[in-house]
Symmetry: D2
Subunit: 377 residues, 4 copies
């Protein structure tokens, strides 16, 4: 099956605002984005409630906007891969949404999420994402993290119940991020989110939506993180982009940074049979004009496909299979203990000195990755 | 209850070797370390198997060493807070221990851990720690992370069974670390470890041993991470030291970096009623002589006690209680939804515009932390 | 002399906008900021051209605004510590100002800086700052860094000539930053800026304006960086705030992060006799209301004064003098070679083995810093 | 001219020791390394004094070792690209070498450097490198950075005089590094080193030796840094390897991380006509056996050559030339002001609004880099 590429309305629609300057591009009409993405070969789009229906829109106008958007989707044949709630833009969320210290804000956040879930269901979204953009602190003393996690869990539990009660088909995916816009955010990594899911009332309904940029900000291996999510059966969605470690949230074009990691990620997704959307949560550089936005969007898909092809080629090479074998890569899938008792195992510890000589051919294997990436093999 | 301070034998015994230079201090006799730590007011020690009994020691000599060490403990009145296996020093572990690509190495690692658990139980350790120092990759292509997690889980499951079968009282604590000595390590953060524990056969027997330096290397909030571990009932042990973000593993004296975070950590541990050892996994600067080592050890405990006193003082101040209230810190403990239905909550979302005006007094509150830390309040 | 505290108009006037949400506070009238800062005990203010006179203001209105601002300064007795040009906010600067690939933009940038220098001179600013907020790249291939440095130098040379020709008293200070809002910025650190200054036509007229947050983003020691600037006689101005390593630009309240580094910085500035403004380039947390802004401003000054007092106290303690001596801190000021010839020095290398035993008492000394910071000594 | 590849004796000879484990490979005889590197196509080697002549070797033995090494060089036809002093391994350097607080250590360091310079000159090294591995602090209070820079400068000045007095042909190159093995090191970046060179007595004799890993640890753009060094005429030597941002010093095989940055670096070096050695300061992964070491060495050169070929191909493509032009990349080489006076320039500032619409085609251009890297164009 061809990978299904999706883009957030806010990605191609990003106007280029940043903390030090205003917009450099005009806003896009969501219906125009849909048409243009279809032309470029995308499978679908994703959206926040406010991307489509600006906060404060009256009910009648809301319905008109949604109907018009659904028409555009139908005409262009695009699907909706994912929907989510904007719980970070409104100034009332400045201290958090589900974990605001103000109970009335928390209740409003849950209510806004319910309205937005209705919209997502109406549009046929497969997955419903929660990114806790404001769930965190700068002054850590202001929130006991245990209380914050209680409130976070309560909100997700209530919303999962809501989905079930409404008979919606949605699954949830939590999107971790370590910091920005808050100094430190709750559920900062894939690991924290996976653990949190295990504490929910309906854990089976909730997975993760990891993002390249978010794990990379903290310098964590994205491939290992996605690996743990796949291992847990919890990769419900994925956000593809590029980022340098230890920086502001860059959301660059997929593949624009760290090609080797991007290659290993694509290889892992393809080999694992991940079937969800390949979702680009990225935006064009701020110094692009509207044409540059579509170069950006095309580039994301182009690089994914090129990396998928390189991954297939890599795995087809005899010298790669040989190097993987010299590295013992396949041996790692074999059980270690397999029924042996403590006495045997303790005795085998004495083999350590003899086992130290073996080399693992990692230089050879990694150079093969580089060779394949550079197209010289 | 007074906090129980413990030190690893390898901490005060650290000879000052680093990647660019050899030792600057003589090795210490573990029995001498025990006596000196008792003098300084520590409650106990912790150890790797090889710290006490060098790898390759014959059985009779091993027994003599252990007996002598137990005598030193008894004489000085020190306890053993924690024991662990050195699964990283031997060259055979260069590709991993429980997740080495070589099955024979994995089996030897499990066997070495069993032997070491026997030693820990003999010495009366409360907690048995697993730090996967070599479980990771530089060339990520060499290990499928899903296989690695399978093997990691298998090893912990087998060892937990072993403890139960032997009738030992030990609980396990997993110690996460993002990188160093491997390029990327499996179970890189508290969150990943907590999730992994939930996949084990005996999850109730296993908790985490978070370390200040390890989460801080990745720039994650240690207070939030420990908060999630406490929230999960999984803080079985803790490693205290100091570290700058984004650097090699520094293991500085507790409190030597980021005093505010150290204050908030001590406050959290004391308020949460954490009863385990306050374990210092740190070492003296390499340019210290033996006297400096004991200045280092005394400083760790001195700073912890000073911060605990400052935390109590902070919480006793009326202006702090007022600022916490203005921040809504206590309001976060109140349930958000409390039985309200979707219709009510959706309607309350309309309150957002009105809720935006409120300030959260975080500057006032955080300045109170600084004032208290600096002793000016 | 009491330290002269200054605040940027844009600091207390920061409306709380960030990449994920709009403003949370109303804009402040600069004249009101001046009055309020005077009340709180500040010595003066600093400003970008556009902070006072919005871009596009007609000449007559510009003069009215400036006159009104000068009245407010006079009435409140505040001075202008520093002025600077906003060369980052206008969308035309999206590819750079002095190093934009578009020559017309570069010329407009130089022209805007000249206009703004006129304003700074009119307001009596002591120092004129250049922060190259847009001078950099995301796609490094788009600019040869050697060309960019040529253009940067040309702009500063032309502007320095302009100042001399106009007979203004201004000195320039370059403000380095590693990244954000650009992926990578030219002159990323104090060191790069100091070197660049040495290549200018009027190097004596140009110094640096280091900022805590900027060096800290890259994990560099701010104290060492400021030390090198002082050593070079180039510390013309300084931006005080707080930041965690490896994150988005946080601009927190001075002292809110890394109290030990803040202490060492204040101690260095006070001991070195730095006479320029102590300029706070920071802003209140986004979840503050207008009252919180003034808590923030007061806190910056309060912490500086507390740290200056702690530094004096530290240096007055006999045990500190003793520890500094044991560390050899004063011995570092003595020349090493002092006329000795190669033969003597080569022979003295043989002393290395004997010299290895000495300890440097750094644990003792650093613990004294912590003790003094915590007010327990 | 073909690029001249060199390897440090310590790189292929690295035994795989790290902070958590001992060596995994036997030491290599320098003469064997020379022969093997010649076979693989290297141009030469580099060395620390102690790599060849272990510290403490008697004079006669020293001469024998050197003679044997020179024979090996002659037989294999290899040159010596660079020599340097090991001023970090001996325990006496634990508080610094040229900036140790102990004056006797500083003198011994200068003497050891003189002896080592003699060796470098005898072996015909082109460049003499200074890496201040121990010049720094963990406890910053222990050294006034201004004193440290005085001592650093004094040492380099004395040694430059020594070279001139001896009539050696050597040029010096300073190698910056931000941290590790010290908490914070003096001259942490290329910029700091370039500035420092400007303060020396013989600045013309001294340049820099930047290392990929060192700038990357701090998250700085290596391409921009090398660009500033080239711009200053100060790129005397270069250390090639690979590193992830914000980690321990990894010294991976060149090209093993961040292929785009490696591509841009090679393109810059080749276009700038850099004629010095392409020096690999890297080592094989610790889990390699001896064969893996030579895979590693071959991979470094192979990737450099592949990237140089890709760079030539990139610059030959018409679509690249077009995209560079659309980006204005060549326009940046044109002077900005070119004799225009202030009145003209101020007037041209009004053009900003009109100039804002232009796009800079950076997405297109950067995607071309990715396409070329992946061999799909």
């Amino acid at each position: 099956m061809d990978p299904r590429f999706t883009f957030g309305l806010w990605t191609v629609g990003n106007p280029g605002r940043d903390p030090f300057g205003g917009p450099t591009r005009e806003p896009l009409d969501p219906a125009d984005s849909v048409r243009k993405l279809a032309e470029l070969g995308a499978w679908g789009v994703s959206l926040h409630d406010d991307d489509l229906v600006p906060w404060g829109t009256a009910a009648a106008e809301r319905d008109r906007i949604v109907a018009r958007f659904k028409s555009a989707l139908e005409e262009s044949g695009l699907g909706v891969g994912m929907a989510t709630t904007n719980l970070f833009g409104h100034p009332a969320f400045k201290d958090g949404a589900f974990t605001s210290n103000d109970r009335a804000v928390r209740r409003a956040a849950v209510g806004k999420a319910m309205r937005s879930i209705d919209l997502g269901a109406e549009l046929g979204a497969e997955v419903y994402v929660f990114w806790g953009g404001r769930e965190g602190t700068e002054a850590a003393v202001a929130k006991d993290p245990r209380d914050a996690l209680d409130r976070y869990r309560e909100a997700i539990d209530v919303l999962a119940d809501y989905v079930v009660e409404q008979g919606y088909e949605l699954r949830f995916a939590l999107e971790p991020k370590p910091n920005e816009p808050r100094g430190d955010m709750f559920l900062p990594t894939i690991g924290h989110a996976l653990h949190f899911i295990g504490t929910l009332n309906r854990p089976e309904m909730v997975g993760v939506n990891p993002e390249v940029a978010h794990e990379t900000m903290a310098g964590l291996s994205f491939v290992h993180g996605v690996g743990q999510a796949l291992w847990a059966g919890k990769l419900f969605h994925i956000d593809l982009n590029a980022q340098r470690i230890g920086r502001y949230d860059q959301d660059f074009r997929f593949g624009a940074e760290d090609l080797k990691e991007a290659f290993l990620l694509v290889r892992l997704l393809e080999r694992a049979g991940y079937e969800g959307p390949r979702h680009f949560d990225a935006h064009a550089y701020r110094n692009e004009d509207p044409d540059g936005v579509w170069e950006f969007a095309a580039g994301c898909m182009r690089t994914y496909l090129a990396l998928a092809e390189r991954a297939r080629h890599f795995d087809s090479l005899p010298e790669v299979r040989e190097a993987l074998s010299a590295a013992g890569a396949t041996e790692l899938a074999q059980p270690t203990v397999d029924g042996s008792g403590p006495d045997d195992l303790k005795a085998e510890a004495d083999a350590l000195d003899a086992l130290a000589a073996r080399g693992y051919a990692n230089e050879r294997l990694d150079q093969l990755v580089v060779d394949v990436l550079l197209g010289v093999r």
